[in-house]
Amino acid sequence: MHYVIIGNSAAAVGAVEGIRRVDKHNPITLISDEPYHTYSRPLISYLLAGKVTEEKMLYRGQDFYEKNNVTTLLGQKAIAIDTDSKAVKLENNKVIIYDKLLIATGGTPFIPPMDGLEKKNVFTFIKMADVKAISDVVVAGNKAVIIGAGLIGLKAAEGLASLGVDVTIVELANRVLSAILDEEGADIVQKNLEKRGIKFELNTSVKAITGGEEAQGVTLSNGKALPADLVVVAVGVRPNTEVVESSKITVNRGIVIDEKCQTSIENVYAAGDVAEGYDLIFAQNRVLPILPNAYCQGETAGLNMAGSESIFSGGFAMNSIGFYGLPMITAGIVKPEGDGYEVLVKMVPEQNLYKKIILKDNIVVGFIYLNEVDRAGIITGLIREKTNVSDFKQELLKDSFGYIDLPQKLRRSKLLKGDSASCQ
Amino acid sequence: MSINYLTPAFLIERDKDRCIDCQVCVRQCANEAHRWDEEEQRVFSEDANCVNCHRCVVMCPTRALHIKKFPLEFRNNANWTQDAMRAIYLQAETGGVLLTGMGNDRPYPIYWDHMLLNASQVTNPSIDPLREPMELKTYLGRKPDFLKIKKGKLLEDIPPQLELDVPIMFSAMSFGSISLNAHKSLAAAAKKVGTYWNTGEGGLHKDLVEHGSHTIVQVASGRFGVDADYLKTAAAIEIKIGQGAKPGIGGHLPGEKVGEEVSQTRMIPLGTDAISPAPHHDIYSIEDLRQLIYSLKEATEYQKPVIVKIAAVHNVAAIASGIVRAGADVVAIDGFRGGTGAAPLRTRDSVGIPIEFALAAVDTRLREEGIRNQVSLVVGGSIRNSSDIVKAIALGADAVYIATSALISMGCHMCQKCYTGKCNWGIATQDPQLTKRLNPEIGAERAANLLKAWAHEIEEMLGGMGINALESLRGNRLMLRGIGLTDRELNILGIKAAGE
């Protein structure tokens, strides 16, 4: 039995740990085009800001692969898979034969078409290499334009701003973090960022990056021109499905997987940002490019690859993030569209406090906790378990909302079964 | 509004070096004697609310609290004491009967403390209970005058008996006056140690039916919770005529304490006052008592001993004799120091006689009449320790009833405020916030430990007297000597003076 994993981030690590829970001996080969030991992608903005060292970015200890009997092929890119001969072809022409294969190639930046993308000092911001490239050129007093006010864009902005860079963010949508916040929440976040000197251009896009060999500015579709020593394109990510393009593996937006995280082809699994797995809230397959989801899918894939029957009941969008000490946690549907939703809201503007819980048929389907995130996981749990909250709906927004507000029977069953919580 | 003349009884002292403002005291005081001041960010005391129950002192994790008598002196007056004056202030304010909880606290002589026990020296070996068997087993119930035996076989069964592994039972305290958790504690402790607990007059909660074999159910003047199942579930039935703390007085459980559980257990409507009349309205004479005794025996097919409990009053000996002749299997006598959840203060403090005299008089009288062996005698009313028990048995008791000691074992600190329903120890209350403070596991353990400890001590004292079975102490008044007693008192107790 030979396990092969393409990828070296959360899903890949989840798979290694999943396999090793069942199978301690058979070899695992891990292939990654990045030359680094596994590191935490979300920490790249921390690295940029100098809040963590490269060493502290490690997602698992240096001895992780050794201890888990994993052969790593780092800096070697897999370029094709032949599912008939069970072979993975590498860029360097090596061919690796697998019995069970996991594709965990993650995401790749989505770059909308615009002029001047080829210029120097135009960056993306999802990998270690991106941070290193930016760090090489950036100096205090630089002006930066960041395209996209999503999680990556704002994190990049915070990182750059902390280095003394003058940052302007250009966003096509009407608000920041449009994927995870509604207007009210976004407004608070935006104002908080503006207080720190970050500027925003909303409802517009970059038409072109201007300058000579190096970027010197951008022009916006609204006609404005902004100077820029560097441009970061952070519009979003899309599944990095390149390696399976020539194979028979079914790809929709991402590689389609079932509840065992297996692709359309037997013995081939996919997990993480590259995969399109089940979304609990939308009750359909979706790409969910978030780390907890990647790990859980990877782990599920690993368990199944090693012969243990394991099912991942699905994930849903969820994020915990903060900017300049303003923490926020959101999950699921935050801006419901359509009928049948019930929305509970609590807003205390002077405290930057905003709580919003979205229910459908008395089941929580999404929430925003802004600046007061304590115990948000209880709500996440209610979403995951599809708990009917009709008996305690009125308590949900309370500052002290907790298990005390659950009906005794429900509370006891949850607390006594403390050993069964799971992402599975 | 006018000024309240009452000054605080207690002073709460908070050691600032030790107080960490954790607010445990605030959370634990049902009387609101501790208060968290949000503005000052520290805990303050409201001395006037303090009843000196020690809950805060015991719970304070840094031992930062002390409770003292409020340092307010009245001019010395041997007649007009503080207590006398405070009572008047209170009555002048309220116009009501003074209520109190727990037993008589007046400085009457405690005769247990005027009796000394014997021990063997030389002529008769003392017995080491760690090496030799030591028997405390006691059977309560009616004894026939003689046994018919033929060819090694008993021809007729003896009447039903309660089997006690220790000569100590928990006496009656009703569900209502004390919490369900207190009942659970007592029931489990009784089972654990091999003795009995007593429901009091408030019925038997459904959760406690499983302890029926260790339960004495009470039939009192209110007849609360009494039905055929109640009687049949029990090991014995006790007819309560009177109670040491308030002879001649009935009981009154206010409606606010009659919650769902109490109401179901007592079989009365939710929120109604539960009134136990002073007399049983079907017992106006000894003949009536006989009828009730036999009704209860009929109802339980003569399978359960019937106990009749009376308060120790002046002519207790004659009354007890009548009760034996009326058919009671056990006579329980409650002395004037017996506890209560609520009693009028003046009644509690001045009605009845000490159990020591009552016991001596009853035992002597029943022997004079030759009927002592027909019946078992159980006494209660402030049995404070194992030597009280040894003395009681030497005076003539078969076993003792304890209640106050049991409550103290479970946490009671004798603040005597049972009647307020705010017992901070979760005992004399029905407030769910407070009742859960008594974890019946712990309560049962502690109450059982007390009985076990006392049993060990009784064994030690018995061994010292060269006795290895408790029955050889019963009525063995030669084992007692009086100290500091008048001839008359010695005579009533039927004992000699120390040195005689």
């Binding site: 920490l43 946690i329 304590d374 006891r412 | -």
Partner: protein, 155 residues
């Protein structure tokens, strides 16, 4: 594994568990007076008493079998010991992103922002090698440290 179970029927809401938890994790280990009087910022309690009179109970990390926090942790700081089952956070690696707060269905992870931001949670006093401080000091055995089977006297 042994966990701390709360028996709400006996919780008296005194919060001594919180107080002793704080002291157990203070640099003046278990010295209450010093913990509260000398520590500039005493630790945050890792156990929380939830209360709505008359009901109260203490809640802390359940040390889930399949702990979501360990899976969601973006730096791999949250870890379940395969031997003891205890879930602990390697605070030196934690970056305070609160993803664990997001996924913990018990709301048992708190934000400790006294210094370097870290997620703070019950460690079952694993340093002490004894029974957890909250259990040891619960005045009414409302907290028991036991296997699930034996907890609450129920099989």
């Amino acid at each position: 594994m042994k966990r701390v179970y709360a028996r709400e029927e006996y919780c008296v809401g005194c919060k001594l568990c919180e107080i002793y938890c704080i002291a157990a994790h203070s640099k003046y280990k278990n010295d209450l007076v010093k913990t509260f009087k000398k520590e500039a910022k005493p630790p945050i309690s890792r156990i929380l008493v939830e209360e709505s009179r008359p009901v109260s109970f203490a809640l802390q990390c359940r040390h889930c079998e399949d702990a979501p926090c360990t899976k969601a942790c973006i730096v791999g700081a949250m870890h379940k010991d395969p031997e003891t089952g205890i879930v602990t956070n390697a605070e030196d690696r934690c970056v305070g992103c609160w993803t664990c707060v997001l996924v913990c269905p018990f709301g048992a992870i708190t934000r400790d922002e006294r210094g370097h931001k870290v997620a703070s949670k019950c460690d079952l006093c694993s340093d002490n090698g004894q029974i957890p401080a909250c259990v040891e000091h619960c005045p009414n055995r409302a907290l028991v440290y036991s296997e699930y089977e034996s907890n609450n006297g129920k099989k």
